[in-house]
């Protein structure tokens, strides 16, 4: 990469100008300034716009970011002037584009055009905010010029900051500071004792058990609901992990098994459409068995398909199940598109367990059981044969693994987990309908397995929190939540392609290295051999 400050500035400026325009057009400038206002401690009422000062801060932050991106280090000698020039040029580009946008907005406002027919988030109010509420007081040139000046200043500031960070080696300083803190923690007596003691793992379990026991009573029902969803997705993720992470078979129709679990409990316990009122625990078993059987039956004809063919066939299967569930053909059997209501919850000795706290305990129990089972499976002979298939199917077959059987087993067990998840999901919501079982469920589960780290159980728990918890934490961003979520998914994959907590391929293939004892005679022979070689050379 050449260190031409003009080119760097133009490039960073163009990127950030596009970002500024995009954020303005989707109305994020309003939300962003509102967030800044909130962080700075100013109360923003729901409908009122934040004051233009916060927009200045928001835009300046973007400009500074752009400027610091532009100010790359110059290999020929890092000078303040080149960084500042790069920042200035980046600011100039952003500023000119913002100016143009500001002028367009003032023209639109002057002609009382409401662009919301085409650009839904550009309301007159947000346009006024972008002009810093100055359009009535002054000529359109004033806010436009203000944008230009703001971005120029921010760009230079960004360039200078980037230079300063490099020169003063703030990063290294922060790094060594962190390292010393972590060293302090490590050298702490208590921590050292904890690392040495063999009971550490049990203490950890005890802490987790206590936390899991008491926290559901502390959270409100909203958070219980979210955590319950995360728990169900952990179960689904563990199941799909067996198929995708361990056996290496890409399945995109995982939701089909989830739907079978959910609809089994729904149709067997709900008063509508059949009114069978079967006990919850019985249906739980039936649902799991049924899901596993479906997996087996689906797998029999298609398990010889490879890679993406398998993916698309299972995707098709998932869609078939969903469409059949909502079709008129089966309405009398599945209650059609409106779904099944009043699904029974679990009972314990005749007492219903349907309150959100009790249900969360049930989910936690199910998650723990699933973790236990998958952990045991992963380290078993079956698990190792799955991993062998994942690494190289032909080699696995050559070493005597019955690949078809192993893959079928993986699919059936994975499907059984999905059935369990479906039962819990339907029973907790006391409702299930075809729209609960769209392709997005499969995609979400697959994404959480990969975001967390394929083949790793802690990774899947992290992934479930990231995929189902993160969108809830992003509630602050209102409408922008899903868009930000999609962007974060891309960024997460780019930054950590192996997942948040990668599984780490088990070192099954390598035997522990042994010290080779060289016999003494051999050592004595060695020089003689050398001598013979040397002698024969000329």
């Amino acid at each position: 990469m050449t260190a031409n400050p003009v080119r760097n500035g133009l490039r960073a400026g163009a990127i950030f100008a596009v970002i500024v325009v995009f954020l303005t057009l989707i109305g994020f400038t309003v939300t962003g300034s509102g967030l800044i206002a909130k962080t700075l401690g100013s109360a923003v009422s729901g409908s009122r716009l934040p004051s233009p000062g916060y927009l200045v801060v928001f835009l300046a932050l973007l400009g500074i970011w752009g400027g610091s991106t532009a100010a790359r280090p110059d290999p020929r000698g890092d000078r303040l002037s080149t960084s500042a020039v790069a920042g200035l040029i980046s600011g100039l580009v952003i500023g000119v584009i913002s100016t143009v946008l500001a002028l367009v907005f003032s023209v639109l406002l002057a002609n009382k055009v409401d662009p919301r027919a085409y650009l839904s988030m550009v309301s007159p109010d947000s346009m006024r905010l972008f002009l810093f509420n100055l359009h009535e007081a002054a000529s359109p040139a004033v806010p436009a010029a203000l944008h230009l000046v703001l971005q120029l200043l921010a760009g230079v500031l960004g360039g200078v900051i980037a230079y300063a960070v490099r020169r003063l080696s703030i990063r290294q300083a922060a790094g060594s500071r962190l390292r010393s803190i972590s060293d302090n923690i490590k050298s702490n007596e208590l921590v050292e004792w904890f690392q040495r003691t063999p009971y550490a793992i049990y203490i950890l379990y005890a802490v987790i058990a206590i936390v899991l026991f008491f926290l559901p009573r502390q959270w409100g029902s909203y958070w219980n609901y979210i955590i319950g969803t995360v728990g169900i997705y952990v179960i689904l993720g563990l199941g799909l992990n067996i198929i995708v992470g361990l056996a290496g078979q890409l399945v995109l129709g995982y939701v089909a098994f989830f739907a079978i679990g959910a609809y089994t409990v729904a149709l067997l316990t709900a008063p509508q459409p059949h009114g069978l009122y079967v006990n919850f625990w019985v249906t739980l078993v039936i649902a799991i068995v049924l899901s596993a059987l479906t997996g087996l039956l689906l797998g029999l004809p298609i398990m010889r398909l490879r890679g993406d063919y398998l993916a698309i066939v299972t995707l098709g299967f998932g869609e078939i199940i969903r469409i059949l569930l909502r079709s008129d053909l089966l309405t009398s059997f599945t209650a059609g598109p409106k779904g099944v209501r009043a699904i029974a919850g679990p009972t314990l000795f005749g007492r219903p367990l349907t309150s959100d706290i009790n249900f969360l305990y049930l989910i936690i129990l199910a998650v723990l059981a699933s973790i236990f089972i998958t952990n045991r499976l992963q380290n078993s002979r079956t698990g190792r044969s799955w991993m062998a298939i994942r690494e190289d199917e032909i080699a696995a077959r050559a070493s005597g693994i019955n690949t078809t059987q192993s893959k079928l087993l993986a699919l059936a067990i994975g499907a059984a987990f999905a059935g369990l998840g479906g039962v819990l999901f339907a029973s907790r919501n006391q409702f299930t309908g075809p729209e609960d079982h769209t392709l997005m469920v499969s995609i979400n589960v697959l994404a959480l397995v990969i975001v967390g780290g394929m083949g790793s159980i802690p990774g899947i728990i992290l992934g479930a929190f990231a995929l189902k918890g993160l969108p809830e934490m992003l509630r602050e961003l209102e409408n922008y939540r899903l868009m930000v979520f999609g962007g974060l998914l891309v960024i997460m994959m780019i930054l950590r392609p192996e997942g948040l907590w990668p599984g780490g391929h088990p070192k099954l293939e390598k035997a522990p290295e042994r010290e080779l004892k060289v016999p003494e005679t051999a050592q004595q022979v060695q020089p003689e051999v050398e001598g013979v070689k040397n002698a024969s050379k000329p």
């Binding site: 919301r116 650009l119 298609i302 010889r304 398909l305 890679g307 077959r397 059987q405 899903l482 979520f485």
Partner: protein, 367 residues
């Protein structure tokens, strides 16, 4: 050789799988033939005109599927990844064409104030709409590859898939925020009014061959021919085929692999954009989520024909379109279930031809 293979113990379950396959195949085929027979000859609900109508709408739909499917096939052939955001690329192109039509419809024609620009110069307007749609889509494809896929070139195979899913969610929601959640009607020039066309008498009834349909189909066939020429005859096409076969060797032969991949995404974007504008003109509705279903269907079509195989994608697209429109009628099933039939046929085809109708253009070790 066969004697050797019989001694390997896995052969037993493989046989089980084979038997299941044949049983399923025989049962499904018998049921389908019986349904077909009873619908066509016994019940005779539909006259020949209806069948022709189904076939025509299937071909039109199939042409558009084929264009999108080629995009999947091109990318898959080179990167072995499912470009999940391809449907969204198409949606952006559709919006590009929509805004050109809307804009030109708001401007009065120079010298003829009664007509809008759109209807005064319809040819120019359509050309502009297609160029804009293709331009927007190719830009989207280019940046998609640059931002979301290029950093993951050497990552495990499923990682770019998740990145693509993230990009797809991002683009969908960005489009929703930009253009709003409402469904919009595509404004067509008058000569392409939807639902109008030539009336052709067939049997007792007449079949309407819509202008939009003929236009879409002819255009998609032309584009497919152009793409085929590009891949087979030009230098870029040769480079693309070389990169698809072996990136490392291609790089040693002096091919700029990154540039070829970028151009592949641009080309697949162009095709998706054209398909998007066609989809808008023919189906008439555009909104942020519209790319999703055609994207999935086109991917299905690409797999049906054999992933990474361009003629396969074309055949698969047309085949899927025909099945979707003829299938429910031929089997006497509710039209709600057309996707069930499409996916069932897909599963059946793959059970008996595990690498698609035309087979895949990849060697096994690449997967």
């Amino acid at each position: 050789m066969s004697a050797n293979r019989l001694t390997i113990p896995f052969q037993r379950t493989a046989n089980l799988s084979l038997i299941t396959r044949w049983i399923i195949g025989a049962v499904v085929l018998a049921v389908m033939l019986w349904r077909l027979y009873s619908v066509v000859f016994v019940e005779a609900i539909y006259g020949p005109d209806t069948w022709v109508r189904f076939a025509i709408s299937g071909l039109i739909l199939g042409g558009m599927y084929a264009l999108i499917a080629i995009g999947y096939a091109l990318v898959y052939g080179i990167l072995f990844m499912i470009n999940f955001a391809h449907g969204e690329v198409m949606m952006l192109g559709m919006f590009g064409g929509y805004f050109v039509f809307e804009g030109l419809n708001a401007v009065p024609a120079p010298g003829n104030p009664e007509l809008t620009f759109l209807n005064a110069y319809p040819g120019l307007a359509v050309l502009l709409a297609f160029l804009t749609g293709m331009g927007v889509s190719s830009l989207a494809g280019y940046f998609l590859e640059k931002i979301a896929y290029r950093p993951l070139r050497n990552a495990p195979r499923l990682v770019p898939l998740i990145s693509a899913i993230g990009a797809s969610i991002f683009l969908q929601n960005a489009a929703q925020l930009l253009f709003g959640p409402q469904r919009r009607n595509y404004t067509n020039p008058d000569f392409l009014t939807r639902g109008q066309g030539w009336n052709i008498p067939i049997g007792e009834g007449t079949v309407i061959v819509t202008y939009t349909g003929v236009f879409s189909f002819v255009l998609s066939v032309l584009l497919m021919i152009a793409l085929y020429m590009l891949v087979q005859k030009t230098k870029l096409g040769r480079a693309m085929r070389a990169v698809a076969q072996d990136k490392k060797t291609a790089a040693l032969m002096g091919i700029d692999v990154d540039a070829v991949i970028s151009r592949t995404f641009i080309i697949s974007g162009i095709l998706a954009g054209a398909a998007g504008v066609m989809w808008g003109i023919h189906q008439g509705i555009v909104y942020y989520f519209i790319g999703f279903l055609p994207g999935i269907k086109a991917f299905t079509a690409a797999v049906l024909g054999g992933i990474g195989n361009i003629p396969g994608a074309m055949v698969g697209g047309l085949f899927l379109g025909l099945i979707e429109s003829i299938g429910p009628a031929a089997l006497g099933i509710d039209f709600q279930l057309k996707d069930v039939i499409a996916f069932s046929i897909l599963i059946l085809v793959l059970i008996f031809r595990p690498s698609g109708i035309l087979g895949e253009a990849l060697s096994e070790e690449k997967i």
